[in-house]
Amino acid sequence: MTVAPPTTLAPTEAQDPAAAPLRVEGLAVGHQGRVVQRDLTFTLRRGEVLAIVGASGCGKSTLLRHLIGLQTPLAGRVLYGSHDFHHCDEATRDGLRRRFGVMFQAGALWSSMTVGDNLMLPMRLFTDWPPAERERRARHKLALVGLPQGFELTPAALSGGMRKRAAIARALVLDPALLYLDEPSSGLDPVNATRLDELIGHLRDDLGTSVVMVTHDIDSVFAVADRALFLDEQALTMTALDTPAALLAQGPAQVREFLSRGRSARPQAASSSPMACPA
């Protein structure tokens, strides 16, 4: 397995592993007792974009569902700070949930509400901010993702790219330190996929948000990911963790083949600004 050396950890995390936004130790994930992936151990560094890649059906989204608490691990631990997410009391878990935001593959915007209400619901549930403050923050987040005109629209009125941006805005409303993205560029045309990559880069570089991104899109991995974690469907475990360039150059043969075959010539974004609103 190609694993980045521990010396590359940020100084704070090297001194105190609990400072890392996410640590996974010996995790085994699966459905109804059937193991899909096992022995998963990795640490997400602060301000890092970590891509989880692998063939279809290898367990990427299943791993994500375990990381965000939608499924209980078969073994191992998911640690946010020093707290084991799956083995702490409900009040602690509620607090930990506020540390991360999630963008689901299809956006998962609540269809019965406007986009603005989608963004304001988490604030209504978890803060005592007055309605005017909630609206101000929701509009700010929508502007941040390049969707300032979306507040009053319903999810059905949005294009695929806009829906994904709105979902990222909703994931960001409580200012989480960690963002989970499930297939952010799936179903998008290359131009919009590039814009979304730029937005992810902006969130990392300007806001310091750590990102875990499950993706099939190898272009996206090379564009924004600091490291990539490769899940092998045959070995049922992670077989590589390193920078995309290092994996392409020196990774296991299977990983090199996966990464090189998955690359395509994606066009540059039409706008120089990652905040530009897609069509």
Partner: protein, 277 residues
């Protein structure tokens, strides 16, 4: 020349046994899931009473708006037709023994005690039970319910309670309208077909209408409302994530609600009658 056709290979005894046992197992799992769901709803009601529920008042108001006024016309129409039918059928039988004057009693007791609530429940099962299941199943397939869970929001508190409470609140009103319209629908039939004076019909109705019939009718209606809401929400939340899941959940919700309503109607009728009410 006659071609020989070999019989299609059918399932052998072992395969049929396997199918039967897997069907039984699936039914037991489903029944267990329904019981667990009922328990979750009871816990959610407990949280609501203790002020610890994340149910939004606006969601309840929105559900009240869509469950009540929009269902009223179809409930009124159905109960009118059932009342009319009851008067004709009851009148025809009573006329054979010269007891047409009792048409009002038959229609009033029938509509108030049994049919008003039953017909309203059936209408709501088709209209709202199906709608609840379709909505929640669609949310399930689009990961909207996962998005709630990730926030720590209990879907039963957030999605089931508003629907359940809205139905429990509007059902007595809808049933009262249905009962009234059903009783009044018997009037033209009694007058035109059986020569009962209008005043005598109304007087007979008022005389037959007792508080016992009224509260039993309303009690049953509330039970039906709970069953419709629970069947719809249970099937919606338990739906799969594929495209067919929404349709399957909707069908199951309606069938389940109707079966539960009829079973509850039978059980409550036997129960109250055996108690002498």
């Amino acid at each position: 020349m006659k071609a020989e056709v070999s019989p299609l290979p059918g399932p052998g005894p072992a395969e049929m046994h396997d199918r039967a046992s897997s069907g039984t197992r699936a039914s037991l799992i489903s029944a267990g899931g329904t019981l667990v769901f009922f328990g979750e709803v009871l816990l959610a009601l407990g949280r609501l009473l203790r002020g610890r529920s994340c149910m939004q008042r606006t969601d309840l108001l929105a559900q009240l708006d869509r469950t009540g006024p929009l269902a009223l016309p179809i409930v009124v129409l159905t109960c009118f037709l059932v009342g009319l039918m009851l008067a004709y059928m009851g009148g025809a039988q009573l006329a054979r023994i010269g007891a047409q004057a009792l048409i009002a009693d038959v229609v009033t007791v029938g509509m108030v005690r049994e049919l008003g609530g039953l017909m309203t429940g059936v209408i709501l099962a088709g209209r709202l039970g199906a709608a609840f299941a379709a909505e929640l199943a669609s949310m399930q397939s689009h990961e909207e319910i996962d998005a709630l869970r990730v926030l720590g929001v209990n879907p039963v508190d957030h999605l089931v309670l508003p629907r359940l409470l809205a139905l429990l609140l509007v059902m007595p009103l809808l049933t009262a309208f249905g009962m009234l319209v059903g009783v009044l629908a018997g009037l033209p039939a009694a007058v035109a077909a059986f020569g009962v004076p209008a005043a005598e019909y109304l007087h007979g109705s008022l005389k037959a209408l007792t508080w016992t019939h009224l509260w039993i009718g309303q009690f049953k209606a509330i039970v039906y409302a709970a069953l419709v809401a629970l069947a719809g929400c249970r099937e919606g939340l338990g739906a799969g994530r594929d495209a067919e899941a929404v349709g399957e959940a909707t069908t199951r919700a309606v069938v389940k609600a109707l079966v539960w309503i009829v079973a509850a109607a039978c059980a409550t009728t036997v129960f109250f009658t055996s108690l002498g009410y």
